[in-house]
Symmetry: none
Subunit: 240 residues, 2 copies
DNA sequence: CGTCACACGTGAACC
DNA sequence: TGGTTCACGTGTGAC
């Protein structure tokens, strides 16, 4: 009774799951069909449970995959790490939102706090936010001090219709960030319709129009994130 | 909502810890009890793998539980649903943050500008991707650094007053042209105020605002041309 | 009765 | 070379 399962299992492993571990770590497998069991209701009493269970697993993996697509800073591809990064990112967003709201209050309350630009030789921090010195508990955006990694502040990938996907991303302006950003996109071999990089006040905004299909949106985002992460740190950071 | 207790009741029955603490579902057993089958006749068999696997599962469940804790509105207690709600929440936060940031910009610059409200109401997006399995043959291609020189079509360097020099240049769009162009400007160690690259219809237009004095204009232009020429052909000291 | 969601042990694959 | 991570099938309890 077991050898049937063994056969089927090896079939799945060898056919559906030959993937290399980078990019798309766990199987978005699909297209299992045709296998059918019509005998021995007691022995193969599963036969419906196992496919259901398989679907459940696949659904959770898809969701987890999509979760990773939404979180900009990903450290590792582990399931646990993905959830961990998502938690940190949510906390970071919540705190940042509070700060921003406080700042909006402050701005609205009427101080004509004009722009006092003092050009120092050092990195110019953006005029808005991030000047708050909170507790050092949240070390979200103080990533590992390799030479100068790309600090991805935002990444949006949206389908625009007409087989056009727009990638819009914001980074901190650091040395060689522009070069690295261009390298990332050059390495992906995309069909770039038009591209644009703008640098202002310590930030760097890049917009790329890419010819691609709608269903490639999430995969494209993952590719970009993976390329940036790989460029930032070829080794893998810590995990608990 | 009340069936939460019923939901995780069966987790507690297996995973130790008579915790009276509320809201601690999913067997967050901190108690380490490495007991397994003591009567296993097969000797080692797994013995270490199964406890490791158990820890891995526990860790993922903890993280998933923590993820649920930071997402305010959770519909169901399913693992998949938790991840789904987290994704929606993150997207919501991102969009909200973007709007708020735009508002801050608007408030700061003093220019009353219309807010483009973009209400995105995707109630259920299964985020399925790669429904078809394609042959990932040409994936993971190397960068193939094809050595294509920068074809400079135009270069204008003008002094704008206020110690600002504007560089505007046009090139043909080739592979790695963007990267090389960025590299050129990074290598010159200029005080770049703001920069912009736009790519359209086979051409590439770059505009850079540089903080420099009026008398540096010509020297700057020479430097840019020299750098491009040197990058195109490192051997010959190129003509202008 | 079936369905759903879960934890579990296990073999395999990758460092 | 283990240590990790994963998918898989199965048993179980709740609805």
């Amino acid at each position: 009774m077991e050898n049937i399962d063994e056969e089927y299992r090896h079939f799945l492993e060898n056919n559906v799951f030959p993937q290399n571990q980078e990019l798309n770590s766990w199987g978005l497998d699909e297209a299992f069909s045709g296998y059918y069991d019509s005998s021995s209701p007691d022995g193969a009493a599963s036969s419906k449970n196992i496919v259901s269970e398989r679907n459940r697993r696949k659904k959770l993996n898809e969701r987890l995959f999509a979760l990773r697509a939404v979180v900009p800073n990903i450290s590792k591809m582990d399931k646990a790490s993905i959830v961990k990064d998502a938690i940190e990112y949510i906390e970071h967003l919540q705190e940042q939102q509070k700060n921003i709201e406080a700042e909006i209050m402050e701005l609205e309350s009427g101080m004509p706090n004009s722009i006092n630009q003092n050009y120092d030789f050092d990195q110019e921090l953006p005029v808005l936010l991030r000047s708050k010195k909170k507790r050092p508990d949240q070390l979200y955006d103080s990533v590992t001090s390799t030479n100068s990694p790309i600090e991805l502040l935002e990444l949006r990938v949206t389908y625009m219709g007409e087989n056009t996907i727009v990638v819009s991303m914001t980074c901190s302006k650091r040395t060689d960030t522009m070069v690295k950003l261009c390298e990332v996109f050059e390495s992906l071999n995309l069909k770039i319709i038009t591209a644009n990089i703008t640098c202002f006040s310590g930030k760097l905004l890049k917009t790329v129009f890419i010819q691609a299909k709608k269903e490639d949106k999430d995969l494209l985002q993952i590719k970009i994130q993976t390329a940036i992460a790989a460029l930032n740190d070829p080794l893998s950071p810590m995990s608990i």
